[in-house]
């Protein structure tokens, strides 16, 4: 009898485990997209990101526990350009949630409408490393693209809740106005580092460099996803010395041993630079991401080479 009651309770719980949600449930692949969704959605949405800001978004494991979030999602937002190709497609098809499948109303590819750099022209093959033929997927690091993503999210949320269109438009306008203020602040901050020569670990920064005027001279990994060979390190050290590169930018999820060695040999400063919201505890918003990053860069310049 007791067993029957336990089984009956379990079945009842299973059948009622999806309560009606008042707020729109949004799942993003990265914390940057989650931060932008929060700016636009405010308290009308619940947002959760699959990848954490301190995680390499190329190498996220497609854990079944993520399916529990995706099953309930009204809207799924991905960076796109095959950044999440190793994990997002299998999660989407396994979640058994028709709403968020590509092409349906609950799917948003954030790259739409953004300024995408390094689109492949001509032949592409794996001799170029783990390349993204559709363009460099780290485009959220241009504040202009951040605004484009926020607009796409506002449009999508409005489609879901036309009655609250004004609320989303007000939030978007507030974000746009704050971004314009911040852009002025950041422009003043970066004026001393315009044209600064940097070497980055991975090719994560073309949009950031273009927007803030940095000159990315080379990369520590010779090709995307391919670790550096001793020959590449030797030629890189020579190049850094010859071109007087000031700074090595390294994402926090890469092993710092090799960049530290290169920094010691060349005198360039090693800056562990997080490319995502949540990469460090104090980076909670999209604005924090640039505040923290640009401060690191300007501080690195003050000590000289």
């Amino acid at each position: 009898m007791t067993i029957r009651r336990v089984l009956a309770s379990f079945l009842l719980l299973c059948l009622t485990a999806s309560p009606i949600m008042a707020k729109l449930q949004v799942v993003t692949t990265t914390e940057d997209l989650a931060a932008l969704a929060r700016e636009v959605g405010g308290d009308r949405i619940d947002v959760v990101s699959i990848a954490k800001g301190y995680q390499d978004p190329h190498f996220v494991e497609a854990k079944p526990s993520y399916l529990l979030r995706l099953k309930k999602a009204d809207l799924f937002i991905q960076v796109g350009l095959e950044l999440e190709v190793g994990w997002a497609p299998s999660l989407l098809t396994s979640a058994r949630n028709e709403r968020i499948l590509p092409g349906n109303a609950g799917f948003l590819d954030a790259s739409e409408g953004c300024d995408i750099l390094q689109k492949a022209s001509g032949g592409v093959d794996r001799s170029m490393g783990d390349v993204h033929p559709l363009g460099n997927p780290h485009f959220w690091l241009d504040p202009g693209n951040g605004l484009a993503i926020a607009r796409s999210i506002a449009r999508k949320l409005t489609e879901f809740e036309p009655d609250h269109a004004q609320s989303y438009q007000d939030n978007l306008a507030r974000f746009e106005s704050r971004l314009a203020e911040k852009e002025k602040e950041w422009a003043a901050l970066v004026s001393p580092i315009k044209g600064m020569k940097v070497v980055t670990y991975h090719n994560s920064w073309p949009n950031f460099a273009k927007h803030f005027g940095l000159d990315v001279v080379d990369f520590i990994e010779p090709k995307p996803g391919i670790p550096a060979s001793p020959a590449h390190v030797r030629s890189l050290v020579a190049k850094i010395k010859a071109e007087k590169v000031s700074v090595l930018l390294v994402e926090p999820y890469f092993d710092p041993k090799l960049p530290e060695k290169i920094a010691r040999e060349t005198g360039a400063k090693l800056v562990v630079f997080t490319p995502s919201v949540g990469g460090r505890g104090e980076i909670k918003t999209y604005f924090d991401l640039f505040d923290a990053g640009l401060k690191l860069l300007t501080d690195s310049l003050q000590g000289g080479r």
Binding site: E61, K63, P102, G225, P252, Y253, D255
Partner: protein, 368 residues
């Protein structure tokens, strides 16, 4: 995949338009290219050293073999289903349909349905295609109970994601055509219509942000050949019941995901198989595999094997395999492996392998 579904959704109208107003020429060719499935190929080369003990009359494998090329075709079929087709071609040119199935991935009530030829969910290891396993061989217990290629047949599978707030749970019910005993020695088709029924319950739980565990229990029931009665010329179908338990533990720090990881998987099988003359053979076996990634491109691992035979539990085989694997990139690996097996007759077999695999085509999903 990301592009194919919207293309299909948009493209379906174009297909209908073409049917009503046929337009031969380049336009049709271009649409066809856009709608092509993802095409990939996995190549598997292997060298073997040592004295392999093979049954009388069976040929020993060559020192260097092109084990197989596995061609994969994967695409969304329509807004409701996707299809996966894997065709293997071995070094002698023998072509085999490894898997080919249609998967309806969003039926109501969290159900999923699969139909075609596939590798059923008995345990976790059976689902993995040979080139993609960490090993140059298959675990002894899988060879003994499911044959050299693993359990695979034509059938249908229904799965249900059990909605609950605590963990990810899945129930699977699968029915496949019973393979011949030469393919899967635990079972054996007695009649043309014999079916093998498989059930599995599994649960996944995140222990911490870095560590997680999957537990599964499987059951299979089907024919195991037939017994003839010479006196009255009657025949009786023999039956086999197979129970399985599997545990998979994974560890990977998301802050250093490309550099360090650990993996531990254990599967145990227990079989009760009619042996004719009202006797039953109860047998068992297990393997346990541990792997540690100690650098971005390097992994080392080992496997312990212990198994009886489903047809004879008088003796057992045990052994182990050790390997070190180097991955120049995500798309290629070179693995040096050594295996030792104590056979049921008390003799030892020591083998060394060099396994090389490569993967060409679009970037697939990282295995989990």
């Amino acid at each position: 995949m990301r592009l194919i579904l919207p293309m299909l959704l948009l493209g379906s109208h174009a297909v209908w338009a073409q049917e009503s107003t046929p337009r031969p020429g380049g336009g049709a060719l271009q649409a066809s290219n856009l709608l092509n499935p993802n095409i990939s190929a996995v190549g598997w080369l292997q060298a073997e050293a040592g004295r392999r003990k093979v049954p009388d009359g069976q040929e020993k494998p060559a020192a260097v073999q092109f084990k197989e090329v596995e061609l994969g075709l994967q695409s969304v079929v329509d807004p409701y289903a996707k299809a996966d087709v894997f065709i293997s071609v071995d070094g002698d040119g023998k072509v085999d349909l490894e898997e080919g199935y249609l998967d309806w991935f969003h039926l109501p009530y969290d159900l999923g349905l699969k139909a075609g030829k596939f590798r059923p969910d008995f345990g976790k290891f059976n689902r993995t295609h040979a080139p993609e396993t960490a090993f140059a061989d298959r675990p002894l217990v899988h060879e003994k109970y499911f044959g050299e290629e693993g359990l695979s047949s034509l059938g249908a599978a229904l799965s249900w994601h059990v909605p609950n707030p605590w963990l990810f749970m899945e129930l699977d019910a699968e029915t496949i055509v019973t393979p011949d005993s030469s393919e899967a020695p635990t079972f054996g088709k007695a009649r043309r219509k014999d079916l093998l029924h498989i059930g599995r319950a599994s649960g996944y739980y995140d222990l911490t942000e870095s560590a997680n565990m999957t537990l599964g229990a499987s059951y299979a029931y089907g024919a195991a050949g037939q017994e003839f009665n010479a006196v009255d010329s009657s025949s009786k179908t023999l039956r086999s019941q197979l129970y399985g338990f599997d545990l998979t533990f994974r560890w990977k720090d998301p802050r250093r995901a490309v550099y360090r990881s650990a993996f531990w998987q254990t599967e145990a099988l227990w079989n009760q198989r009619d042996n004719g003359s009202a006797s039953t053979v109860a047998s068992k076996g297990l393997f346990s595999h541990l792997e540690y990634q100690f650098a971005r491109r390097w992994r080392a691992g080992g496997r312990f094997d212990w198994t009886e035979s489903p047809t004879d539990n008088a003796g057992h085989e045990h052994g182990g395999l050790l390997y070190v694997t180097f991955m120049p990139s995500e798309f290629c690996l070179v693995s040096l492996q050594g295996r030792t097996v104590r056979k049921s007759d008390g003799t030892d077999e020591h083998l060394g392998f060099l396994k090389v695999t490569f993967n060409i085509g679009p970037h697939g999903t990282h295995p989990f």
